[in-house]
């Protein structure tokens, strides 16, 4: 116990005895950790931004005009059962026309005998399913359903934001490793400098019979 009190006291004394050196080491470590925090916060913000964008992604499945209205509900049922599909909403020709009207502010189809707009199904995805690989698989499966004529979702755009997200992650990991290394090296360097500047003291302690562990503890605590 006496030795433990001595070691703690000695570490505190060493810090107090060299305030400038202690403050310099502390500030440089603080700066490094602050940098790491900034990088980490940036990556978190990027991740949240990606999640928000990804939440808005949906897929529109256009149905063939030859498909009988009576079979649409069967197709809808098949789509809803598929992996990763959270919800499927059917858009009839009339709804599609209303949507176009509200989008354009005028009925562009006025005067036409038939409504040329296709029927469609808009699907939204489960939260952890919104990756380009998953959506490509889903698209492939949907294409196998009879009556599906075309499928649209922002495929290229999704791939691009995924690439950007991967790049940000790699940069954060790289910077994290570099900063962690810098912190460790800085600490070791501080300890080494402190020990070197007290070489004479360490020699005297050795000559008096102190063990390596006992001699090094105050420097480690100080670091």
């Amino acid at each position: 116990m006496i030795k433990i009190f001595y070691l703690i006291g000695k570490s505190a004394t060493n810090i107090v005895a060299r305030p400038l050196s202690a403050i310099t080491s502390f500030l440089s470590l603080l700066l490094l950790l602050l940098m790491f925090d900034m990088v980490w916060i940036s990556s978190l913000s990027a991740e949240r931004y990606y999640e928000r964008i990804a939440a808005d992604i949906d897929m529109e499945i256009f149905l063939d005009d030859t498909l009988a209205d009576s079979t649409v509900s069967g197709v809808l049922g098949t789509i809803v059962e598929m992996d990763g599909v959270a919800d499927a909403r059917y858009i009839s020709k009339e709804k599609a026309r209303d949507k176009l009207y509200s989008l354009m502010g005028a009925d562009l189809l006025d005067g036409l005998e038939d409504n040329p707009l296709p029927r469609s199904v808009i699907i939204t995805f489960e939260n952890d399913y919104r990756s380009s690989a998953n959506l490509a698989t889903l698209k492939e499966n949907l294409n196998r359903i009879d009556g599906v004529s075309e499928i649209y979702y922002p495929e290229e755009w999704l791939e691009k934001i995924e690439m950007t997200r991967g790049l940000i992650f790699k940069i954060v990991v790289f910077l994290g490793i570099v900063i962690s290394l810098a912190v460790v090296l800085n600490l070791l360097h501080s300890i080494r400098l402190s020990a070197r500047s007290r070489g004479q003291e360490i020699l005297q302690h050795r000559l008096l019979g102190a063990g390596k562990f006992f001699i090094s503890i105050p420097y480690i605590l100080e670091g």
Partner: protein, 227 residues
């Protein structure tokens, strides 16, 4: 073999056929034999470069000889574990040469360290240190940092370090170098007291020193050996 073992235990220091080379391959010790019975002291004279400081370093366990055996307190220090060597070192005091006070620590702090290693309580340490400082007339310097006191006082401080820890063996390298006659007399008187009190002193000195210790054997180091 048994005889050698018995002899090692009888002697506080025992060097058998020790060979030591310097950095440039120069022979420092060549088959050096030396022994010091418990409670006896030795004055070892030798010119600069004769190997006096090397002998101190060998005895304290920081300079491994090329061959031979170095036993201190019956422990073959270069064939022992570090913990054992540290226990041996706690019983060896040192003055001058490689043994110096810790410059930026106070006199009290310098004297405390061997007692802390021993695990003595603060109150016990203080009592013991004050008693020794009184014996050495250093009480008025107790809070001074070691670099602030004179060379003679530093020598007394190192002797004090050996006295507080009650170290039976004290290695002393050129104790009177740089001291005025008055301080030399004080140091010599303290050394004699320690010798009479039963401490074994090994005093290294170059040439004419005027060092005389009660009941101390005198040796001369030259050509890698000791006569």
């Amino acid at each position: 073999m048994d005889k050698v073992k018995l002899k090692v235990i009888e002697n506080i220091v025992e060097l058998i056929d020790v060979n030591l080379s310097g950095a440039a391959g120069k022979r420092i010790f060549e088959g050096l034999n030396f022994s010091l019975p418990r409670g006896k002291s030795a004055i070892i004279q030798g010119q600069t470069g004769a190997g006096k400081t090397s002998l101190t370093e060998v005895l304290i366990g920081i300079k491994r000889p090329d061959s031979g055996m170095v036993a201190v307190f019956g422990t073959d220090i270069y064939r022992s574990r570090e913990s054992r060597l540290n226990r041996v070192r706690r019983n060896i005091g040192g003055v001058g040469g490689i043994f110096q006070p810790i410059a930026y620590q106070t006199v009290i702090e310098n004297l405390s360290y061997p007692l802390i290693l021993r695990g003595d309580r603060s109150s016990k340490r203080k009592t013991k240190i004050m008693e020794v400082l009184g014996q050495l007339n250093l009480l008025h310097k107790k809070d001074e940092q070691a670099f602030n006191i004179s060379r003679g006082e530093q020598i007394l401080l190192l002797l004090g370090r050996a006295i507080v820890a009650d170290q039976p063996l004290i290695l002393i390298d050129e104790p009177l170098a740089g001291l005025d006659p008055e301080m030399s007399d004080i140091v010599l008187e303290k050394l004699n007291r320690l010798s009479v009190a039963g401490h074994s002193l090994i005093v290294m000195t170059a040439g004419q020193t005027g060092i005389q210790l009660t009941d101390a054997a005198e040796y001369k180091m030259s050509d890698g050996g000791m006569q």
